[in-house]
């Protein structure tokens, strides 16, 4: 590479010293490309003359491998041919697969499986229904295709860098146009928070962060959910102190609140409406007709909100109602401890692992699956609830087999019909039932 003459270096050094150094806030925003153009120009002009500030920006760079995503011009990458090529291919696959799935669905009873929704990075505009957290009702094949399309459409291989910003997380992030790739941004950022010094409080917050991140995580196949669960195994397998309920609640809301600002998943309204119609046609009539009778006949959509509460919608997502699994449930150990947790989020550790720190309307749910009016909802600490009447009444279920009970948080629920289903936990366990949850087998 050609170098500049010494005189250039001498004259650069001889520039008058810079004053009015930008504060840390401005320098960070500069490095993370979240300054408006005018302000960025001002900071650049300063950096052109100030070696100290250049040193600061350089020293403050995150780990080299974590910031790889920054160097890929994600925003401009949308319109370049290589990306468009994959976009077209993905679109073609989606169309073909949609036809295939619709044909398949028409030839068998309707099945609906709820999934976590994966926030698409820089695709759709931000949508603001209250339950942006989880989408419902997609067949597994369509779901796979969407996931494939989502991955391809981002134009970059799915890595697991740190957020953002951190939080990035990072993070990750409220910075919709500037964050790193969605999958790694949210999940990777949370993993990076993992315990180097595993204090129990840190454990809990890590778990709750990931828990909160999960509803906002990309649409994932069950294998992906399992992989993510495996990633979290080290954190979850250590004893967790149920201290600081407030902490968990706050981080849950905070993390999901940040993620909520990211664009919504790929629109799939048409397919879902078709599924719902099928479900309605074949709804199970075996319910107690009391209270809201209509809900027993019409299968609602299900979702989990930012606080881990269950919600259902009878109008294809236009309005949502909170569902309290403890209301109307027969008295059980789970219900009592839930009531206790609801009444006072105390700081003492509860020996009953089913006692959940209920933020507002219920325990911290992570997954919901519905087949017509038959609904399963599972969440933290292996809590699992079942309803046969679209959520008007619930019973708590504890999968166990040969003296072994399900442990860990339930992160995946798949029911092909009312009888057959599987449960995946954060500890990597895989349970299945073929008699509507009366008996379970652990794989």
């Amino acid at each position: 590479m050609q170098i500049v003459p010494q005189i250039v270096r001498d004259r650069l050094k001889a520039m008058p010293p810079a004053v009015d150094h930008p504060d840390a806030d401005a320098l960070t925003a500069f490095a993370e490309k979240s300054l408006p153009d005018s302000e960025r120009a001002v900071v650049l002009a300063h950096l052109a003359r100030c070696g100290d500030c250049r040193d600061i920006v350089a020293l403050a760079l995150p780990e080299a491998d974590a910031s790889q995503a920054v160097t890929v011009p994600a925003r401009s990458g949308w319109l370049t041919w290589p990306t468009l090529r994959w976009g077209f291919a993905a679109a073609g696959i989606v169309v073909v697969a949609s036809f295939g799935v619709l044909q398949y669905q028409r030839s068998r009873p309707a099945t609906t499986v709820a999934r976590y929704s994966r926030q698409e990075n820089m695709t759709a505009k931000v949508q603001s229904p209250p339950t942006n957290a989880a989408s419902t009702s997609t067949g597994q094949t369509l779901d796979t295709t969407r996931h494939l399309a989502a991955t391809m459409a981002t134009g970059a291989p799915a890595k697991l860098p740190e957020a953002k910003l951190m939080s990035r997380t990072a993070p990750p992030a409220v910075h919709t146009p500037q964050g790193p790739s969605s999958v790694g941004g949210v999940i990777g950022g949370q993993v990076a928070y993992g315990p180097h010094m595993p204090t129990q409080q840190q454990q809990q917050t890590t778990i709750s962060q990931m828990q909160a991140a999960m509803p906002a995580a990309p649409v994932a196949k069950q294998q992906s959910a399992g992989a993510l669960a495996n990633v979290r195994v080290p954190a979850a397998s250590q004893p967790v102190n149920v201290e600081g309920a407030a902490t968990q609640i706050e981080t849950t809301q905070a993390e999901v609140g940040r993620a909520q600002n990211q664009p919504a998943p790929l629109p799939s309204e048409t397919a879902e409406q078709l599924f719902d119609k099928d479900a309605v046609g074949k709804a199970k009539p075996a319910v107690v007709l009391s209270g809201r009778n209509f809900s027993a006949l019409v299968a609602p959509r299900w979702a989990i909100n930012a606080a881990g509460g269950l919600q259902r919608s009878f109008d294809q997502g236009q309005t949502w109602q909170d569902v309290d699994v403890t209301a109307g449930a027969p008295p059980s150990a789970g219900a009592k401890s839930l009531a206790a947790a609801n009444a006072a989020p105390a700081k003492e550790y509860s020996a009953n692992k089913k006692a959940l720190k209920a933020p507002t309307s219920g325990p911290g749910f992570r997954a919901v699956a519905a087949t017509g009016t038959d609904v399963w909802a599972g969440g933290s600490y292996g809590v699992l609830y079942h309803s046969v009447d679209s959520g008007n009444h619930w019973t708590q279920v504890v999968p166990s087999s040969a003296g072994v009970t399900l442990t860990g948080d339930i992160v995946g629920l798949v029911f092909s019909d009312a009888q057959h289903g599987t449960v995946t936990t954060s500890t990597g366990e895989f349970w299945s039932t073929s008699d509507q949850g009366q008996t379970w087998q652990k794989q």
Binding site: Q2, I3, V4, P5, Q6, I7, V8, D10, R11, L12, K13, D20, H21, P22, D23, A24, D25, T28, A29, E32, E39, V43, L44, L47, A48, G51, R54, D55, I56, V57, L59, A60, L61, P62, E63, S67, T71, P73, K164, M166, S167, R168, T169, A170, P171, V174, Y193, P195, H196, M197, A246, T247, I249, E250, T252, A254, E255, G257, R258, Q260
Partner: protein
């Protein structure tokens, strides 16, 4: 080192900003979990208005203001300000999330365990607000506005603290240590020997003045600070090859501009080229640089490379 934010007067409260804040207040309050960390609606509204007044340019439309607020890291902003206000629940959460990260970053910056711990501890004191001014607790976290990530902000503050310390103690460091440290900071610069012909300096200044600030920043980072192409690329958020191409282009353009400038000042072409002739030092650097070119840790000096290799991960 006086530090100011390059923006407008922070005490201005524009009605447009206030109206958007009121609109978004409830949503932000819930999203950031302000209840759990001790921030009331009122104090949260005040914080948001302050941030908006500071960083939203005058005459912005409502959509622009709204977009600005939606781009902020709301939850991190709330946490930082709740910590600055001294709420223990917020501080607990902050420590849980950031304590380890802070130490890791300090270690990467200071490259040595005890120095890193000292750096992190000093920062904690600043963040917690153990300093007081006129009886009011003063915490650095009060200056965080959520435009960048809190984690990135913490790294920047650590780096600032480290640079300030190094600058203060620089004169006490021996020459050997200085040259070893040369890779980290700019090499100590002896006064440049003034060229015999002042026209050369003038023509060079002229050529540098027409460059963009970004170009000058890249030149400074590469030739004065000794940063690698990769580091500079990450500082600017571009690809490494962009920086490499830019430096090549700049070197050629500068040479051309300086020759033209010398010509305008009465030098013949031959005289100008002689004046710009690569001297012995340049030749030496050229060879070393082309040898180190492919390595990601391209060094500005041999000793710097050896020092890095010797110290390892620190």
């Amino acid at each position: 080192m006086q530090r100011v934010a390059p923006s407008m007067d922070s005490t201005k409260q524009t009605p447009a900003v206030q109206s958007v804040v009121n609109d978004l207040l409830a949503e932000f309050h819930a999203r950031a979990g302000c209840d759990k960390i001790g921030l009331t609606h009122e104090s949260w509204a005040t914080i948001l208005c302050e941030v908006g007044a500071k960083h939203v340019s005058e005459g912005s439309s409502e959509i622009e203001i709204r977009t600005f607020f939606l781009s902020l890291r709301i939850d991190e902003l709330a946490l930082a300000r709740a910590c600055a206000a001294g709420h223990n629940s917020a501080w607990e959460m902050f420590l849980t999330r950031y304590r380890e990260k802070l130490y890791q970053s300090a270690l990467r910056i200071a490259r040595e365990d005890s120095a890193a711990r000292e750096l992190a501890d000093t920062l904690y004191a600043d963040l917690y607000g153990t300093n007081t001014r006129e009886g009011q607790r003063v915490s650095k976290l009060a200056s965080y506005t959520g435009r960048g990530s809190l984690e990135g902000w913490l790294r920047t503050v650590l780096a600032q603290e480290y640079v300030n310390r190094y600058r203060r103690t620089k004169r006490l460091v021996s020459l050997d240590e200085e040259s070893e440290e040369g890779i980290q900071f700019r090499a100590p610069d002896p006064d440049p020997v003034p060229p015999a012909d002042p026209r050369l300096a003038q023509a060079t200044d002229e050529a540098l003045a027409v460059l963009s600030p970004e170009d000058r920043m890249v030149l400074g980072a590469y030739y004065l600070d000794g940063r690698t192409l990769a580091e500079i690329a990450r500082m600017l958020g571009v690809h490494e090859s962009t920086i490499s191409r830019k430096l090549d282009k700049l070197a050629k353009a500068l040479r051309k501009q300086i020759l033209a400038g010398l010509g305008r000042r009465g030098m013949s072409r031959r005289q100008a080229e002689e004046a710009l002739e690569v001297d012995v030092r340049d030749l030496h650097l050229d060879i070393r640089r082309s040898l180190a070119q492919d390595s990601s840790s391209a060094a500005f000096s041999e000793k710097g490379v050896e020092a890095r290799a010797r110290e390892g991960p620190g």
